[in-house]
Symmetry: C2
Subunit: 267 residues, 2 copies
Amino acid sequence: MLSHRPPPPDRLNPASKAGEPEIPEAGAARHGIARGSSWSSNWEVKEFCLSAGIDPEATRHVERLLTKRIRFRKGDVVFRIGGWFDALYAIRMGSCKTALLAPDGQSQVAGYHMSGEVIGLDGIGGGTHECQATALEDMEVCPLPFDQVENLARQSEAFQCNLYKLLSQESVRAHALMLVLGTMRAEQRLAIFLLDLSHRYRMRGYSPCEFLLRMSREEIGSYLGLKLETVSRLFSRFQRDGLIQVQARAVKLLDPVGVGRIAEGAA
Amino acid sequence: MLSHRPPPPDRLNPASKAGEPEIPEAGAARHGIARGSSWSSNWEVKEFCLSAGIDPEATRHVERLLTKRIRFRKGDVVFRIGGWFDALYAIRMGSCKTALLAPDGQSQVAGYHMSGEVIGLDGIGGGTHECQATALEDMEVCPLPFDQVENLARQSEAFQCNLYKLLSQESVRAHALMLVLGTMRAEQRLAIFLLDLSHRYRMRGYSPCEFLLRMSREEIGSYLGLKLETVSRLFSRFQRDGLIQVQARAVKLLDPVGVGRIAEGAA
DNA sequence: CGCTCATTTGACAAAGGTCAATCCCAGTGG
DNA sequence: CCACTGGGATTGACCTTTGTCAAATGAGCG
């Protein structure tokens, strides 16, 4: 592994023989595209990624950065398209989606973000946000004023490095999604989506086999480049085939390996 | 416009009344998604983006960075997936594609880059490249050793800012492509592709209405999430409809406005 | 408890994909 | 100089996947 941090244990060996039920990872993640991160973050969740491996001096600065908290309720907008960019937001709790706006006004969900992740990086270049972040449940974030982030980056090499990683992480995520949108069939997309969620929940200490979807069928469809009916049908089919169990927003992965096969493109 | 540099004149007013034939811009670009850049770069081409607006002191450093040149022939690989990342590459001449590798081995074209653009940023986070860059014609690049880039970024605030912009530019591009892949119909995708090329050629001083495609039908298809036959059929149809003229790799935009309408999603 | 919105499901249509047969050149070698 | 060859490009016929429209059902919320 070429990452500068040890990869999380469960990623060392995809075919690990742990006692836990084995959850295959989303296709893209397993082949180096997303290099140990897929759509998911490979940062520790507890301590924010920005403070990884930096000296005590800088750590204090980072901590000072993380004091303020903002709470949002389900449906609240964290930042909107075209809105002025002046801070990144580290998610402490909850989750949100980010959506792009197409020329014709329709929007596409471009990201799903959970606790421990940092959002808002898309605003760095242009000074304004290119996507809109909307809370999918009640959430709490730490705003990281970007001028301070920039300063810190100039002072601490390790911090600077972390910031770069964060940025390129974005592009990794984007690439993985592109691959999904550009080359995969509907069932494959949904399977990968489910495995990605599963993996990310596990990383956060939640059950990887049983979780709540925070997005509606329509949002999932938008994320995966499908229509909501297609998503719904696929859920039903997966259930008929004994792969999963769905009840509205509640999902149980019954046969993660089977789902994994579909994610790989098995007919 | 919120960008910190004046936008190129031709972007000030999409419906400008200049004497030139009017080329509508690719849909995504016009609605703030790509905020003045769409898939294309909005940097000056002559002077590399990294040296924009920085002080003379730093300028000299940048210039020192840009001394070395590497030439590639059509088909050569600039860097490959998984290859060690130690430098960015500024394209001085020619063009290349970048491709991702899907789990099942099939690859997807994720980017098309021309002179004045910087490639290789995807490697920053993980230390290895996530995509493969392949020359589509003979090209010349300047390698920018990343440790030097990093140092410079810490010394010059303006340079640091440019680097950030470059990174986020990547994500802008990715977002635009996502939107194309996720929400648009085939004809719309191709129309946008053509307008994007047109715009980028114009920015570089070439004719926006007449140019050579450097990618094969298959590569274009891969880029747009379509099969080569579909691309070919669409070219034929556009030609039948008097929108363009195609002869193998040579394209002439006869009715840019019409193409623009299709890019917007007109039935 | 009743409303509203999300979800499911079916029937049908359409957009693209697949397969296969040419075609068209560019480059090669005679 | 010319025929030959091989890969890209075009085109047609057909088929699969996914989208569209519509109706029915279910779930969450006030």
